[in-house]
Symmetry: C2
DNA sequence: CGCCCTGGTGAGCGACCGTTAACCTCGGGG
DNA sequence: CCCCGAGGTTAACGGTCGCTCACCAGGGCG
């Protein structure tokens, strides 16, 4: 009973009170963000959770599996919510605004995950790495599709390049701690919309 | 004779034909970018240079020293050229355009260094880490100053936040390989200028 | 010609890492 | 009441890593 059926319920688990499993994931996100996947030992991670090293293996099959669950689940969430906001929007302009809002919210709330996602992506086991790559590509295309609906002259690849650039802009949150979050939100939102204009 | 007097001559060395030292730095940049500082062993790095492991210590005092030289020198270059372009520009608008051009050039040419700089920054020894932090802050302020010259209503911190966001946008080059470099240059330049508008 | 400095080699050391194994504790259900 | 599974412990193992050491080739110079 591995409970890792991939498409399963981040939502269901998040609804319950925080389990040890979730504590480990949250703690790991912070530590990996601060010192990198290879820079954090299982002993440290355990200690930060109030247990010690090998006890982690009662909850995850390996250190890599912790990273995998973390990154796969966050990629799924990004994509699912992105699609939901597009579906709820009225036209490409509104859809893009909704995507920017969503991504800015995410980038401000989960700075650690942003750092881990693009720093330690290549430490994933092959299967999870491929899954994350696919989910990210789909997410890029959610943005690119709306850009092309708004401006049909845009090539698919140009639209993708613009989406990547917008992610880079918004994902600057980990380096961007000079302003209070609310002010950062406004700056990033208006800059992203201007850049995509 | 350590030849590591910090503020010394990246320029002088770069003028000569590529030495082993420079080969090591270039190779290390690629490998660190691909698998992370902790993910590359000195044996691998040596092998990639055609020598083997311990031979690296004839050129650098430690593995960390390789990272330090790489990141300090690139931070110095970014700052120096940024200042030069501002000095040569006629007014804040032109200065910002020159900064964007310079940073886009850099981000397209040295993708590996961008990856290493923001992924492995914290693996630096304390002294070098502090130096890089200082240089980066000064570089941010070069941008922020021009933004405030153009729009005096901008607070210093808002201007800094905007600079960070612009770097994030332009530094998306490592993830942004969908277009040929020349097209990517145009997309990034116009998006960055629009975002800073 | 002989010397020594430069830049290489391979062996090996000590530390640490991820993981496994063997064992303990304890709360809840038959 | 007893058992057992869930979740924790410590000890230990194999592997790898950064780095040092002792040694060596060879070319330029006194």
């Amino acid at each position: 009973m591995t409970t890792s059926s991939a498409a399963s319920s981040a939502a269901a688990r998040a609804a319950a009170q925080p389990t040890r499993r979730e504590q480990i994931l949250a703690t790991a996100a912070e530590l990996f963000a601060a010192r990198g996947f290879h820079g954090v030992s299982v002993a440290e991670l355990g200690a930060a959770c109030g247990i010690s090293g090998p006890a982690l293996y009662k909850h995850f099959s390996s250190k890599e599996a912790i990273l995998a669950e973390m990154l796969v689940s966050i990629s799924e969430t990004l994509l699912a919510e992105g699609r939901a906001r597009v579906a709820a929007a009225d036209g490409p302009e509104a859809a893009l605004a909704a995507l920017v809002d969503w991504h800015v919210d995410f980038a401000l709330r989960d700075r650690a995950l942003i750092v881990v996602q693009d720093r330690d992506w290549q430490s994933l086991p092959a299967e999870a790495r491929e899954r994350v790559r696919t989910l990210q590509r789909e997410y890029v295309d959610v943005w690119a599709d709306q850009l092309r609906r708004r401006d049909p002259a845009l090539s698919r690849d140009t639209a993708r390049a613009m989406a990547h650039a917008a992610f880079g802009l918004i994902n600057s949150t980990p380096h961007n701690r000079v302003l209070p979050d609310q002010d950062t939100r406004e700056v990033l939102t208006s800059m992203a919309l201007a850049a995509l204009r």
